[in-house]
């Protein structure tokens, strides 16, 4: 792909055939890139849907948990994923509640307030945070929660670790969006005597809302499918637990990894792909909802 290395030209001659050809080639390449990217998408969706979609229509899938499950090979009921769905929803929502405000405020600081060394430090640290692997974040939380304070692990610990993964994604994307808000908008607001914080909340944020929502959704997608921190911090259980502050809590990714250990068994593999399908659908629905919210907020302006 030559697009990233191309050097800008300042003047344009008449449209020679060479330029026309280059233009056509670029158009073809850009279309091709998009179409090629659809291949893995189509393939993976085909895999998941053909193996998992029918499971979603079994009567018990949304209503029951896995209580009463027998060892693989002896269980002929797929049972349900309600426990994992509830767990994933609760943990992801708590993660978002922790991460999104911090991330957006950090982005605001970086773009609207930050100057000099402190801002550069914060900005750099956000990049570093984005490179911390999920398993290290989980070990870190474990070291603080259990080793240092001697507390008993509860599912919300996983949310805290996941928030560490979500913050950089949302901060970075929000920052990029805020940077793109034209200064004239801010200046116009200041000229009217509007305080800075009101300018930010009423003018800057709404202007870049769609981009911020995109970032938050990317962050959500990133954490909803994370498995490693959950294995360490929020132990899987086959029973429904609605209290995020006590006991074990199932989640769809941990359900997938639990069933993966028996992938050779037909019923386990149905559960596995069913859970994968549910997880993808869940992220998809949240995505659509987020976009809808973004668009409604825009209309209000």
């Amino acid at each position: 792909m030559s697009s990233t290395t191309a050097r800008p030209e300042v003047t344009f001659g008449s449209k020679s055939s060479g330029r026309a050809i280059r233009n056509t080639v670029a158009t073809v390449l850009v279309w091709a890139a998009f179409l090629i990217a659809l291949i893995p998408l189509g393939w993976i969706m085909w895999t998941v849907l053909t193996k998992g979609l029918h499971v979603l229509f079994t009567g018990t899938w949304w209503q029951k948990d896995q209580s009463g499950a027998l060892p693989p090979g002896f269980d002929h009921n797929v049972r349900g994923a309600r426990h994992a769905l509830v767990g994933t929803l609760e943990m992801s929502v708590v993660t978002s509640v922790i991460a999104i405000p911090i991330a957006i405020m950090t982005a605001i600081y970086l773009v609207e307030y930050g100057r000099g060394k402190v801002a550069r430090l914060v900005s750099f640290m956000v990049d570093i945070l984005s490179g911390i692997p999920s398993i290290v974040a989980a070990l870190f939380i474990y070291a603080i929660w259990v080793t240092t304070f001697g507390l008993k692990l509860i599912p919300v610990c996983a949310s805290i670790a996941l928030a560490m993964l979500m913050i950089p994604v949302v901060t970075r994307s929000t920052e990029e969006m805020l940077k793109l808000v034209p200064n004239e908008l801010r200046e116009a607001s200041y000229a009217l005597g509007v305080p800075k914080w009101k300018t930010i909340t009423r003018v800057v944020l709404p202007t870049s809302l769609s981009g911020i929502v995109t970032g938050a959704l990317l962050g959500f997608a990133r954490v909803a499918g994370e498995t490693a921190p959950l294995i360490l911090l929020a132990a899987y259980t086959q029973y429904l637990n609605e209290n995020i502050f006590s006991g074990n809590m199932a989640a769809l990714p941990t359900m997938i990894s639990t069933e993966f250990s028996n992938i050779g068994d037909a019923v386990s593999s149905e559960r596995l792909w069913g859970a994968a399908c549910t997880l993808i659908l869940l992220v998809l629905v949240i995505n659509l909802l987020g976009r809808l919210v973004g668009r409604l907020a825009k209309v209000k302006k």
Partner: protein, 336 residues
């Protein structure tokens, strides 16, 4: 497309690499609300600094005791023995991590930029939005599903292609055939799967940035007689470059730290396997090594060895991001 925010962009929108927006001191900041809001923003930023510092301290504190008992050269040894006497080195892990992530970036960035251009500049209006949704759908696929799909469904299909490549390009050290690894579960293949995984994140951010290219820039180029491609090259790409680099770094960070998918796909090597530069070899990345042995952590020196590996990954991200930052700063100087 440039009006997705609902606000018409003014004529003189500065380029993406502009200096920071209006300085704080020129706005009215004395009021209580301003102080609280500004304080909260600063507090959030500092919280992140504190978290990262704590992680660094935690990694160091756990790694140092193990490192001091290490009987192998930590940087150059390829062995990984954490029972007493400990002899562990990161050479193999570092190579696998970096190689797979670089392969991922080499595939993902050109595709992501091209797709972002397609979505913002080329796609017909009726297609742009659903097409963007399709690419975002890829981000909705959890990494464990990528692991299952890549490791058990794609890898067998990839194996013949890989054999063909190593037969024809085997004279290049990177593509040398390796003994011992029979399937397609190699570093190169992991790179491809990682590329697919980080594609949506790079695409989405690049798309948002490209979409904000000032209409004036684009129209100016077209008015000068530029073809569409020349318009993209002279107006859209330079405008979006810092954003694309930033997005790529985010993608790279994810590729370096990806855990469960890599663990499920890649073939492990036996301890002390012969060193090769081939991408058609197995191995383990920092993250996959930590995760695959996490089940036997007992919180002492042996765990420290893995934490030391985590520390190296941490430093690696540090260096990569520092380099990226320097590149962005340079570009900024040129574009002003």
């Amino acid at each position: 497309m440039s009006s997705i925010t609902g606000v018409a962009l003014p004529e003189e929108t500065p380029s993406g690499g502009q200096p920071k927006p209006l300085d704080a001191d020129r706005a009215s900041t004395g009021r209580l609300g301003d102080r609280i809001f500004g304080g909260a923003a600063l507090g959030s930023g500092l919280l992140i600094v504190v978290i990262v510092t704590l992680v660094a301290i935690f990694l160091l504190a756990q790694a140092v005791p193990a490192l001091s008992k290490d009987h192998a050269n930590f940087l150059t040894s390829t062995s990984w023995v954490t029972s007493q006497p400990m002899a562990f080195g990161i050479a193999q892990l570092l190579w696998t991590t970096v190689a797979s992530s670089v392969v991922a970036l080499l595939f993902a960035v050109p595709f992501a930029v091209a797709i972002a251009l397609f979505l913002t500049q080329y796609a017909p209006a009726w297609l742009a939005r659903p097409a963007a949704g399709l690419i975002d759908l890829l981000a909705a696929v959890p990494s464990i599903v990528f692991g299952l799909w890549g490791g058990f469904i794609v890898a067998p299909k990839w194996a013949p292609i890989q054999h063909f490549l190593s037969d024809t390009l085997g004279w290049i050290p990177l593509f040398k055939p390796t003994a011992g690894i029979t399937g397609g579960n190699t570093i190169f293949f992991v790179g491809i799967i990682l590329a697919i995984m980080i594609l949506p994140i790079i695409t989405a951010l690049s798309r948002e940035v490209f979409a904000q290219t000032p209409t004036t820039h684009k129209e100016g180029a077209l008015a000068l007689g530029a073809t569409k491609w020349e318009m993209v090259r002279t107006a859209v790409l330079p405008f979006g470059r810092p954003g694309v680099i930033s997005a790529s770094m985010l993608g790279l960070g994810r590729a370096l730290g990806e855990t469960i998918a890599v663990m499920m796909i890649i073939s492990g090597l036996p301890n002390g396997a012969k060193w090769t530069w081939s991408l058609f070899n197995g191995g383990a990345t920092f993250a996959s090594k930590i995760a695959s042995d996490a089940s036997e952590f007992s919180g002492g020196l042996s765990t420290g060895a893995y934490i030391a590996a985590g520390l190296v990954l941490f430093i690696l991200t540090f260096v990569v991001n520092a380099i990226a930052r320097i590149i962005i700063e340079r570009r900024k100087d040129f574009s002003e």
